[in-house]
């Protein structure tokens, strides 16, 4: 069997097991509600979930602007300019292991329990990894590319537009993929901690009243959101970075941390 076939079979059998195991009574509904009861709740409370999804998407989008926009620009500056790199990289790298989630209570004090604190937290949470990966990627650009461009008489603006930017595209897309995935995590986690809206909030709310189908309905939505983001970013990347996707398989680094 081809790997694709096997993957599809695994997926289908997981869906079937999700429906079948709770029905046989092997696991109580509280632990694992059946797929059909989860979907039924999702259908019945459609308006509530749609609103929560909208809130979450809005927060993720703005967090991504901070993380990807800022992270890629800062990473490009740090990776491209040796002096900045020597100054900043050791500091940023050593902060990398700090669980930024401990700062979330501070964010709620500063920005309130609304969307602002989620956007700020998720934005910062995703910013540093994006910046570090961009800085590393920019440094791997082959200096021969620029030497060749100079020998062919390229001016500095031409070197930037025709060599540095295209050579950075794989790095930029990797940054987008990583930043989006981490922004989703950051938003959902902060919604689960302190919030009044969003999918993460629905998970926590329904867990406290032991309403498992509603918890799983929220989990399912987050799962679908993350997978959709991964597929979308990969499709865009394949379109723009022909020379990489055609040659070797893309590393699914970001996908592993989301799903």
């Amino acid at each position: 069997m081809k790997p694709v076939t096997v993957r599809r079979l695994i997926l289908i059998s997981m869906v079937i097991l999700w429906e079948w195991i709770p029905r046989t009574g092997l696991l109580p509904e509280l632990f694992l509600p059946s797929l059909s009861s989860t979907l039924a709740v999702l259908w019945k409370d459609g308006a509530i979930y749609a609103h929560a999804l909208w809130v979450t998407l809005y927060e993720v989008a703005l967090a991504m602007v901070i993380a990807c926009g800022g992270g890629i620009l800062a990473g490009a500056a740090v990776g491209g300019l040796a002096r900045l790199r020597i100054l900043l990289l050791p500091v940023v790298s050593s902060l990398y292991a700090v669980p930024i989630v401990i700062l979330y209570p501070v964010f709620t004090a500063w920005f309130g329990v609304g969307s602002e604190s989620k956007i700020a937290f998720a934005g910062i949470y995703a910013f540093f990894p994006v910046m570090l990966s961009t800085a590393a990627g920019i440094q791997t650009i082959d200096p021969q590319f620029l030497l060749a461009a100079r020998s062919m008489g390229a001016t500095l603006p031409q070197q930037i537009a025709r060599v540095i930017i295209p050579a950075s595209l794989p790095t930029i897309f990797a940054g987008l993929r990583l930043g989006g995935a981490l922004a989703i995590i950051g938003v959902v986690v902060s919604e689960m901690l302190t919030a009044a809206a969003g999918i993460g909030y629905l998970v926590t709310l329904n867990r406290t009243i032991l309403d498992s189908p509603r918890v799983f309905a929220a989990i399912l939505l987050i799962l679908l959101l993350s997978i959709a983001y991964y597929l979308l970013s990969r499709a865009v990347e394949r379109r723009f970075v022909v020379w990489q996707s055609a040659g070797k398989p893309l590393q699914p680094a970001a996908a592993q941390s989301t799903v």
């Binding site: 590319f145 062919m152 020379w243 040659g247």
Partner: protein, 240 residues
């Protein structure tokens, strides 16, 4: 000279006759590449003058001097044809004319039909052919080549050397070619300049009077062996 720096090159003086194939050979780290960078206007020399066609070359001038590097310098996001067009597209805007000239170069290097391939879809030898085509497309009278075949396996390297001579014979360019392969040096050159270890100096000039067109059989001849041996002796002496 001060603070523990060692000059890369010292007392280098030579002229390259127009239309001739000159090979510079020397041990690794002797400053061959530095010398070539200076000839290309990519790096400034601290002392002395370099003249190319009667004028100094303070910065790259692709209409006078074309440079061919090792394979890594093809742009992976461009097709073979777009890579060859790249230097033309930096100045002109006549897209059709660029395409026509690039296509002609692609044919000259024996790659017609491969224009739409990306570098990762080409073999090492083919990439280097594209690179040669890119160096020739602006028709500069002088061509500098920095160990262009160093990354290739032995057989491909010999074939490419032979191909280069074929292309060169149709273009009448002045070529300065850097290598550390003695066989390659003798096979390609009209004249071989031998450099010493750091600080690099030119310690011998060897005229290669093998007839052209060169053929692989010549490598087995006594003349070829003696020339190669003489270069080897010079390099060994300078290293000791």
């Amino acid at each position: 000279m001060y603070g523990g720096t060692v000059p890369a090159l010292e007392n280098i003086s030579f002229n390259v006759p127009a239309g001739r194939f000159t090979v510079i050979v020397g041990p690794s780290g002797c400053g061959k590449t530095s010398l070539l960078m200076m000839l290309a206007g990519l790096r400034a020399q601290t002392q002395g003058t370099i003249q190319c066609l009667g004028r100094p070359i303070p910065q790259p001038d692709p209409l006078r001097v074309g440079v061919i590097f090792q394979e890594a310098s093809l742009y992976p996001w461009l097709t073979a044809l777009e890579n060859i067009e790249f230097p033309l597209s930096l100045r002109g805007t006549e897209k059709k004319e660029h395409r026509r000239r690039a296509q002609a170069m692609l044919e000259l290097v024996g790659l017609s039909g491969f224009g739409e391939r990306y570098p990762h879809e080409l073999s090492g030898g083919m990439k280097q052919r594209v690179s040669i085509a890119r160096g020739l497309v602006q028709d500069p009278p002088v061509l500098l080549m920095d160990e262009p075949f160093a990354a290739l396996d032995e057989q491909t390297r010999m074939t490419m050397g032979h191909e280069l001579l074929r292309i060169w014979s149709t273009t009448s360019k002045t070529v300065v070619f850097i290598t550390h392969s003695l066989t390659e040096a003798v096979y390609l050159a009209d004249e071989v300049l031998v450099m010493s270890a750091r600080p690099g100096r030119i310690i011998d000039r060897i005229h290669v009077d093998l007839p052209r067109p060169r053929s692989y059989d010549m490598m087995a001849t006594d003349v070829f062996g003696r020339l190669r041996d003489r270069i080897w002796q010079q390099i060994r002496k300078s290293d000791a």
